[in-house]
Amino acid sequence: MAELTKKGLAGFLARQGILVAFAVFMIAFAVANPRFIDIDNVFGVIRSSAILGVMALGVTFVVIGGNLDLSVGSMMSFSTIVVLDLHDKIGPALAIPSMFAMTMALGAFIGILVGYLKLNSLIVTLGMLSAIHGLTLTYSGGKNMDIADKEGTWFAVFGQGSVAGVPMPILMFAALAIVLSIVLSKTPFGRKVYAVGGNGIAATFSGVPRARVVFMTYLVSSFCVATAGLIQASRSMGSQNTVGQGLELEVLAAVILGGASLLGGAGTIFKTVIGVLILGFIQNGLLLMGLAFYAQYVVTWIIIILAVWLDIAAKRGALWSRIA
């Protein structure tokens, strides 16, 4: 479709629209409310984006591999509840690895269904969203979980600690982003994720074990979810069963905003981080403008639609096309 590339403003907007829109947004917000670009506010936004960001890193693998993961929100609730519950029963040192194992078992289960059985990832993870929610409620008996002795444990370090003034959630987000960025861009596994998402059949014809690669992307995603659950639990030291509810859409919005293609085969960790920050700043800006937080649900949805449109527009080189 290269021959249909439009020149001029429309084409530029189609390719760089997200960055342009972001810049306009930032400037408008900064003019409207100088507090927006206050260093404390900026740090606050990044910090509050960290949990979402960690999850988005994992979902980036899944999306580049050509699939979706809508289960991450309820899976994060599961991780949070499980680690809080086990904390008081077996202590943090055992609770954390147990929670990671249980969460990644869920990821492996999804990986088997989508990778090896080749079931549609939308259906599987939508189903898992609901099933894991039920699992969490069954596990907790519907009760909120709280750590009994909040002062006598080092567990708070992941959510509330800081190193050299930088909050731990930001450090963990940054560290995981760097590691996963290297995995995706520099290792044979990363290359195979792009190959499988770009054209699964051609990847198979090149000897790439497609099922195993897809399986692995869900394992990476569930590892990230477990990390997010750990930060969440550590930050609040107690939780409702629904703490991650709705996050799957925000995560997806961030990933697509970053430019990972919903069709698979394209995207980077760096771009996802940008997507996470854009989403975080827009939501923060709207809050500062005095918009009620529930208005964010509407805004998030609009952003997803806009991002998907621009994704398609960039592909065909025009905002609108007669044929595709």
Partner: protein
Amino acid sequence: MTDKTPALRLEGIVKTFPGVRALDGVSFTVMPGEVHALMGENGAGKSTLMKVLGGILAPNEGQIFIEEQPTIMSSPMNAKEKGVVFIHQELSLADELTVAENIFLGELPRKSFGRVDWTTLYDQTNAILKTLNVGFDAKKRVGDLSIANQQMVEIARALTVEPRAVIFDEPTASLTDAEKVVLFKVIEDLQSRGVGVIYISHRMEEIFKITDRISVLRDGQYRGTLNTSETNEEEVTQLMIGRTLDLSRAEVTHETGEVALEVRSLSCGELFEDVSFTVRRGEVVGFYGLVGAGRTEIAETLFGLREPSSGTIHLSGEEVRIHSPADAIRRGISLVPEDRKGQGLILGMNCRDNMTLPQVSNLTAGPFVSDGAEVAIFDQYRDKLDIRTPGWRQTVGNLSGGNQQKIVIGKWLSMHPEVLIVDEPTRGIDVGSKSEIHNLIRELAAQGYAVIVISSEMPEVLHVSDRIIAMFAGKVMREFTADEVTEDSLIQAISGIKPDKVA
């Protein structure tokens, strides 16, 4: 011809895209009742011209005339209403609907209250199908038809209006020789009804068989029109590529070595049965047969994409079991698949990454992919195969068909296979690249590779093979050496006719 009104006339069509003049003043005329070939290498502007004609793109300059009336095509629907209809290379039918529903899609005959008038629909459809002389009826589900018959449905769809010009875009790309005969008959009928036919194809043999005139495009420019009866392949080729091309077979003399691959009584369900053959080093074995004869399925079984139901595979004398493409690659079997874009390449990936994909796990420094090792492999095979690309970062989807195919071939040569299987090596590739790939296959054999070539084009099989295995309905009918094979005996064999003597 001059005393008749042209069915279709294009004058000075210009279409520019940023940085490219895709069409640069193209003019030509199609008379009623003539078959007019439109030829040109990939990228010469044929598809852009057809998009202009079909109302998908608006020209920057120039004018289209239908029966000398200046016309503007505003959309594909509009073009069809004006009697210009397309039979596309890639079919655009709804598999789940019936033949009749597909043909009258969007314009189903109605009764009161918007109910579909099924009786009229089926009657009208069957009337059209009758003129096409096809062996299926209006109520058949399109998904159950063969590709050739689906194409007939497309043609039937074109005939629901009174067409003035019908454009066939690579119509024989997925047809067998027998099916082509049926198609050519249909074209002949259109011709006798006074319809102007534009026929786009890379296949010289067909062009010379059925067309009256040939117009050639090169680099977006009109290069002239020739009367088919007064020209020859060399002249047309020269016009297309701007240089002469040696079409005769380069005789490579070489010794064949020991047996690289032996297949004994291999069967796979109902796809193929009791297939036995050998391939020696330094030898090209061609597989020829109709689509569905089981050739591609044999290749897929050897490559670990299908599990054989019985029989054995031996590599250099040793029996092997192959359960996945990874197994096959490890054992030294490589497959250049028939569907280049669907199976051969990841179009959104760059040239280098596509080429090194099967071995990326081995091209590592520590846990990381080694950039240097990858680029070295790419450079080596780019030079060896003369792949024309601005650099390894170029996205494969932007290359021409011929260069794309060379990337796939390079991918497998860089694995140093024992056996190289090439399925439809030149499908959809322009004539210049085609002969390059044929020469390459001969060269590979000369270098000692054991090569299997599967092709639906008889000239190609005859051109590159040392031995030819003719298949029919999943069985090997006969094996020919290059010396003894004739076109007639080959056609007999793939049509299931037993030879006089036992092969």
